[in-house]
């Protein structure tokens, strides 16, 4: 499927299918099927939340220089979450948002997305997306990736709502 910036996709039946737990070296072993007791069983393993790559080069003079990549101390911003029938997807690093999209599951006729953000101690601001109309009555997924991007102040709240779908997921910008 060629992804455009906004539209409506039919046939996405798996609600929240986009949520993926990152490979992080940890594992959980919950009981299969309904559990009779209140418990969440966690199997602890060596935690390596982020891996590192280091390459050492040998200089002609015998000394070494190291290049590579290591986990950054800058908090990643890339995040995805859903509430009700609405999901938010924010990509970026630190205080910079490079891509902000949203999805709404179902078919409620024509509707549009709203990208809302609130800087601490300021009022909510809202960016309105285009009206999106399904071509028929089948179930599907609305999507709109036209959210505002750029630098946001620390602790800015980013939320998405749709005009007819229920749900208001939010992320916060943190460096």
């Amino acid at each position: 499927m060629v992804r455009s910036r906004w539209g409506f996709v039919v046939g996405a039946a798996a609600l929240l299918a986009g949520i993926q737990a990152p490979a992080n070296g940890l594992g959980i072993a919950p009981a299969q099927g309904p559990v009779s007791a209140d418990r969440v069983v966690v199997v602890s393993q060596a935690a390596t939340p982020t891996g590192g790559v280091r390459i050492t080069y040998l200089r002609p003079d015998g000394t070494t220089a190291t290049a590579g990549w290591e986990p950054t101390s800058i908090a990643p911003l890339s995040a995805f979450g859903c509430n009700g029938n609405v999901c938010i997807d924010v990509q970026g690093t630190g205080n910079t948002v490079v891509d902000w999209g949203t999805k709404a599951i179902g078919n409620v006729g024509c509707q549009r997305a709203y990208f809302q953000f609130k800087v601490p101690y300021a009022s909510w601001q809202s960016h309105e997306g285009p009206s999106i109309c399904p071509k028929d009555s089948r179930q599907g997924v609305y999507y709109d990736y036209t959210g505002p991007t750029g630098w946001f102040a620390n602790n800015t709240q980013l939320c998405n709502v749709w005009s007819k779908s229920s749900g208001r997921p939010c992320e916060t910008v943190q460096s």
Binding site: I19, A21, I28, F80, C170
Partner: protein, 129 residues
């Protein structure tokens, strides 16, 4: 954390910690609730959540689920005071029963959050137990 929010609970498993935050005041009738989570070791850090009218006798269970780079998938639930437990349905078919703690604020709302470990495992549904 966000100004105007209060911590409801603090939890940790190994190197992973998380805090549930809820707004002190309603914003245009909506209650904002977030789960902040972080790894102490590598400083991966994220704060996510949702907003909407507070839980009621009609809308008893409200939830969010999602993920962030370098952190496990997470879920966040808030319920009406009468809801004592919820059941999480995971994408691998597992059902988890989770006890809701005592109401965490003056509104009588119960809050709970936690990680979901495992590649590709996510929360598909949360309902009253």
């Amino acid at each position: 954390m966000l100004p105007g929010f209060s911590a409801i609970s603090n939890s940790e498993i190994g190197d992973l910690s998380w805090t549930v935050w809820t707004a002190d005041e309603l914003d245009d009738g909506q209650l904002f609730t977030y789960v902040e989570r972080w790894f102490r070791e590598n400083k991966a850090h994220a704060t996510s959540g949702f907003a909407g009218p507070p839980p009621s006798v009609v809308d008893r269970v409200q939830w969010w689920a999602g993920g962030s780079t370098s952190l496990p998938a997470f879920w966040l639930v808030r319920t009406h005071s009468e809801v004592e437990a919820v059941v999480l349905r995971l994408s691998d078919g597992v059902l988890l029963r989770v006890t809701m703690p005592a109401p965490g604020d003056g509104r009588g709302v119960r809050y709970q959050a936690g990680p979901v470990f495992g590649d590709g495992i996510s929360v598909l549904e949360v309902r009253e137990a």
